[in-house]
Subunit: 187 residues, 2 copies
DNA sequence: CCAATAGTGGGACGAACGTTCAGGTATCTT
DNA sequence: AAGATACCTGAACGTTCGTCCCACTATTGG
């Protein structure tokens, strides 16, 4: 990928990111199954061949989207944990419960998209490094004596999100809070 | 579905279950994305039109597969918990860690299939009752004073499985044991 | 025994798919 | 200015998809 000296994006870069963002929107709306060169191109408002030019195959497009998505996820979870730590014990659970309720409510499509990409990475080895990166970022920021507890915490968050996705009406903040509280400070 | 008085399966029942089992095998091998009338029919060794006869649409086929799969999952997790309880504290974690290692090792394809169907249920409301049923079975067998702890336990199991699916070499029993132990008996 | 019905199977249709190709346009290098 | 390179796009190829149609066979109910 060629870049200009002044740091501005190279010519094709802009449209490339447009296509990636359009892909994520398609996945949020119709799932990974709905991703085709044509649907993505239509969503991005570009001709069909433009997606095949920038991404030789559909897998390349999904890999790029996963990488883009994983970066956002990592920073989001990072700040979630940071906020939860800066607050007191009870307040921390409150913060996290609020974010989970958002992920299952207004941002439900996005949450589904993330887990679909995650599961796609389980099946396609070439996607795994990108999927694993955000987990690595998180585990790298934990003190070593907390390692087991932190792994349980992350696993619990994943489980709560996935289970919440199949509820007809997603669990609210108040319903999530005691569970998150237990997850942070088990008795 | 018509049945004979003596309880034996009706005529078309046998081929119907064959198709469902073939569908699950296809999902284990190629994912939900690989499920088409033709691939399922080929896997089952029946003509293509046979799948469209017994299942009007592909969604119907996936629903039937999910229901079939959910029943197996529920009984499996039920016995897992039962065994973990009958053993002592430490031995219980050992039992569960062993089952998780199996689910991520030899039965990895099956585990992926289950979570793909689970995520499909998140997107298609008509699949949700089937996906929720096995969760309901499990939550119904827990004492009420344990409710929060049990929800955290189930969420933790889900999270551990999903995170284990994107590892190049799945975590072994000994690696899982301390985490499961913490999940069962947090400190 | 004989209609009625459920199950079976081959073939084909239109639609959507991934991908290719040739030709066009903008930008960069020298 | 001019050649090289990157970028863009309309049209089309062959394939696979879901689904439909019709003829055929086995089973069932009366």
């Amino acid at each position: 990928m060629k870049r200009q000296v002044d740091g501005r994006k190279a010519r094709g870069e802009k449209r490339r990111t447009e296509i990636i963002e359009a892909t994520l929107r398609v996945i949020e709306r119709d799932g990974v199954a709905g991703v085709t060169h044509r649907t993505v191109a239509a969503e991005a408002g570009v001709p069909t061949t433009s997606t095949t030019y920038h991404f030789a195959t559909l897998d390349d497009l999904l890999i790029a989207t996963l990488i883009d998505c994983a970066r956002d996820m990592a920073t989001e979870v990072y700040w979630m944990i940071d906020r939860a730590r800066s607050h007191g014990r009870g307040r921390g659970a409150e913060e996290i419960a609020k974010l989970l309720a958002e992920a299952l409510g207004p941002k439900r499509g996005r949450t589904m998209a993330e887990y679909e990409l995650y599961l796609l990475a389980a099946r396609k080895p070439e996607l795994r490094p990108a999927a694993r990166r955000w987990l690595d970022v998180l585990t790298s920021m934990v003190r070593h004596d907390d390692e087991v507890a932190f792994r349980v915490f992350l696993a619990g968050i994943d489980g709560l999100l996935i289970q919440g996705l199949i509820d007809d009406e997603p669990p609210g903040e108040e319903e999530l809070r005691p569970v998150v509280d237990y997850l942070l400070n088990p008795r």
